[in-house]
Amino acid sequence: MKQFTITSPTNSLAVVIYILMAFAGGVYTMNLSPNQTVDGVFGNPLSDVWSTLLLLSASAAVYATLSAPRRRDPDTSLVIEFWACITLSTLLGWFEWLLLSYRTESGALLTNSIGFSSIFLLGFSFRAGQIFVERRALRRFRDSQP
């Protein structure tokens, strides 16, 4: 039978990125950032909604990933991480969609923001796909058990 690996507890790159996202969400939620791009793109109060959801979903992903080794059933962690990744991708997609129509006073598109959010969006979508495959493998493995 084909072997499968649950990568959640060992994927340290994903954990670092989730922590960074949670940090970014926290900074924007508490209005500590000198960069006003998020406020400018979303306007108030949508910028607060976006940053709080970013903080909560990234925190949930950090919790799911770090708590996975202690769980008897890794499926719960995979489900939480999967939905956190979907939420993070949606939030970044929303941000990027608005960024494309947003221009600064000089009329320039925010190329850096678009680039970074695209990379993270692709990363979270890939991770969600990876977890989906792992869950399917886990389910098949369980079904094959007597």
């Binding site: 939620t29 508490m30 209005n31 108030n44 109060p45 607060d48 909604v49 940053s51 709080t52 959801l53 909560l56 919790y63």
Partner: protein, 140 residues
């Protein structure tokens, strides 16, 4: 030991679920009010310090998310509700203590009281987990 026995008894009688539902009603009610009518909270001077930390909308989403997570987990099984109960407790107590900077008021103490009820719910859920662990233990 007597206190732990009392907690275990409370856990097996579904006290955690009842408290979880009450806390959900409280937390979700506050969350929805903060989202739909932030002005009524902003006009209350005593809460200025808490809203200097994060906006009413952000607080509203946090309250709503934490209380929903608590009620879902506590209804699935109290052993899963430990973290959500602790999170909601921290949010209630944090909001209350931040508001305390603006001066004490009955509203501040109400938030702190709800926070301690959440922490108590977490303790009951922990007792339920201990009880299940003992119940499932098979001696060799």
């Amino acid at each position: 030991m007597k206190f732990k026995a009392m907690l275990v008894k409370a856990a097996s009688h579904g006290v955690a679920q009842v408290l979880g539902v009450i806390l959900f009603l409280g937390g979700a009610g506050i969350g929805v009010s903060l989202l739909s009518a932030p002005e009524s909270f902003l006009n209350y001077d005593k809460l200025t310090a808490a809203f200097g930390f994060a906006s009413p909308v952000a607080w509203g989403i946090i309250f709503l998310a934490a209380s929903t997570a608590l009620v879902i987990s506590v209804l699935i099984g109290p052993i899963y509700a430990q973290l959500p109960a602790l999170m909601l407790g921290t949010v209630f107590i944090g909001f209350g203590l931040l508001s305390l900077i603006g001066g004490p008021s009955p509203m501040v103490w109400a938030f702190v009281a709800l926070g301690w009820i959440s922490v108590f719910t977490q303790v009951i859920c922990w007792a339920e987990e201990s009880r299940e662990a003992v119940h499932h233990y098979q001696p060799h």
